[in-house]
């Protein structure tokens, strides 16, 4: 077996074990073919996501600190796939570093001194910065040329400016650069940083029907063939709810929503069968067939 070029500990987050399983599968496949090692953190917990920080900051910080403690069992920087988990873990590091009072409370909750130094990295950062775009480009086996991609960042990959530090908060290009390195074409569009309605999908789905409709309409206007995401909740709202959105707005979109790892893995030569395309609500297969990619 060939040696890995990079190694990471891996925090998939709850969605990647259920509604976003194709994000997990395609991440594993992509990293395997690029020879980047991923080892899952044993017994990781939910990061608390939006509900925890919305009403109980101390709980949110404690859950994230516990996960960072657990991640110490595995070597390598912590790779995070979900934009929300990434944002929560980075926020916890940021807040606990600058606020000794909160740090003391969290240490009490965990009954242990905090171990917070492990760098937390989103997959995008690993691919674009650690692995490198040139390397990524040379790993290409099947160019995605001719595929017009609308890169959708959503909220938490870049905001607020001082926390994720993945790219510029208001005019990021990291997703475009990553997918262009596999030959794809990216479109310029208005709604790539707007909110999809996030977790209102459970409590107030009407919010998602309105906000995600605007995003789909904007991508369609820009002439995109598909939308690329790096967040399971954005995916759920744009893909799983797309039929409902079409019914509510009276507009036909039929826009496949793909995880960035699915597209990258396809470009790197992973068989389409391993990338979970058939578990998506808006099937990308007709599009990918038309472009000669499957």
């Amino acid at each position: 077996m060939t040696k890995n070029v990079l190694n990471y500990s891996y925090y998939p987050g709850c969605s990647l074990h259920a509604s976003a399983k194709e994000y997990d599968e395609s991440t594993q496949e992509l990293f395997k073919i690029l020879r980047i090692g991923l080892q899952e953190v044993p017994d990781w917990l939910c990061c608390g996501a939006t509900p925890a920080h919305n009403v109980d900051e101390l709980l949110s910080l404690s859950l994230c600190a516990k996960n960072l403690e657990l991640s110490e069992q595995v070597e390598g920087d912590l790779a995070v796939a979900c934009a929300a988990c990434f944002s929560r873990l980075k926020t916890a590091q940021h807040k606990l570093e600058e606020n000794p009072e909160k740090r003391k409370q969290v240490e009490y909750a965990l009954d242990a001194p905090l171990t917070m130094d492990k760098p937390v990295k989103h997959l995008l950062e690993i691919l674009a910065k650690d692995y490198g775009l040139e390397q990524l480009s040379s790993a290409m086996r099947k160019s995605l040329s001719g595929l017009k991609v609308a890169c959708y960042y959503g909220c938490l990959l870049t905001r607020p400016a001082d926390v994720p530090q993945l790219d510029c908060a208001e005019a990021p290009t990291i997703m475009e650069r990553v997918i262009e390195s596999m030959g794809a074409e990216t479109v310029k569009w208005s709604h790539r940083l707007e909110c999809c309605g996030a977790n209102f999908t459970l409590s107030r789905p009407g919010v998602v029907l309105q906000l995600s409709n605007e995003i789909l309409a904007s991508a369609q206007r820009a002439g995109a063939d598909c939308i690329m995401v790096a967040c399971p909740l954005c995916h759920a709202n744009l893909d799983i709810r797309q039929k409902d959105i079409e019914a509510a707005s009276g507009t036909r979109y039929n826009l496949p929503v793909l995880y960035m790892t699915q597209l990258l893995a396809l470009g790197a030569g992973v068989s389409a069968k391993k990338l979970g395309f058939d578990s998506m609500m808006v099937s990308p297969l007709p599009l990918l067939q038309e472009k000669g990619l499957v």
Binding site: C14, S15, H17, A18, S19, A20, K21, D43, W44, L45, C46, G48, A49, T50, P51, A52, H53, N54, V55, D56, E57, L58, L59, S62, L63, K66, K95, N99, Q105, Y108, A109, L110, D111, C155, L156, R159, P160, A161, A169, E170, E194, C195, G197, A198, N199, F200, L202, S203, R204, P205, V207, Q210, L211, I240, D278, S279, M280, M281
Partner: protein, 197 residues
């Protein structure tokens, strides 16, 4: 009313409810008083059409001592935590953190706000973590429908997601559930002792 153009409007500490403002500032780590009402936060807020008070007005109401109206309203529960406001504020007011602090105040004063569905979803989400360590979407959705009385919500979606393998009926249990329970109970302990908000 202003008597003439030279008279000044002054606010006393009592009218301002300065204690509450200070509480929010401590919880959020952000100034409330620094806001000068430019409105950039509301201009970029994706949720403003769902709110009775857009974000800049929430801050103004706090500055004017009207916090009870804020806590009772639905606006704070309709914030999506997208962080656009905090990113764009020219005065470094961290409005998203202020919203978290306000939700905590409203949440702790049980029943303060009539927006019950968002709060119900939050409560079930946190209960799930305490019981299972991780989020199980199917359990969460089923519990939400049961507790909200919306039994048929997404009725057509469930079976489709199941056949696509996106919802799991059964799952592995975390081995560290006792440790998780201890985190929750130690936080409760700290609060009882008055050592954490």
């Amino acid at each position: 009313m202003l008597q003439n153009k030279n008279s000044k409007m002054t606010l006393s500490a009592e009218t301002m409810n300065l204690d509450f403002v200070k509480k929010v500032e401590k919880l959020s780590g952000s100034s409330v008083r620094r806001c000068f009402q430019c409105g950039k936060c509301s201009a970029g807020c994706p949720m403003r059409t769902f709110m009775e008070h857009p974000p800049n007005r929430i801050v103004r109401l706090l500055q004017l001592g009207q916090y009870e109206r804020v806590l009772a309203g639905r606006s704070i529960w309709y914030c999506a935590s997208c962080e656009t406001c905090s990113t764009r504020c020219p005065n470094k007011v961290d409005l998203a953190a202020i919203m978290d602090a306000l939700r905590k105040c409203s949440w702790d004063a049980k029943g303060a706000s009539k927006e019950s569905l968002v709060q119900l979803a939050n409560r079930l989400f946190l209960d799930n973590i305490r019981t299972y360590g991780r989020q199980y979407e199917m359990r969460l959705a089923a519990a939400f429908n049961l507790h909200s009385g919306k039994l048929l919500k997404d009725f057509m979606l469930g079976p489709k997601l199941l056949t696509k393998g996106k919802l799991k009926m059964f799952h592995q249990k975390n081995k560290n559930l006792q440790e998780i329970e201890k985190i929750f109970s130690r936080i409760e302990e700290l609060r009882k002792k008055g050592e954490a908000p």
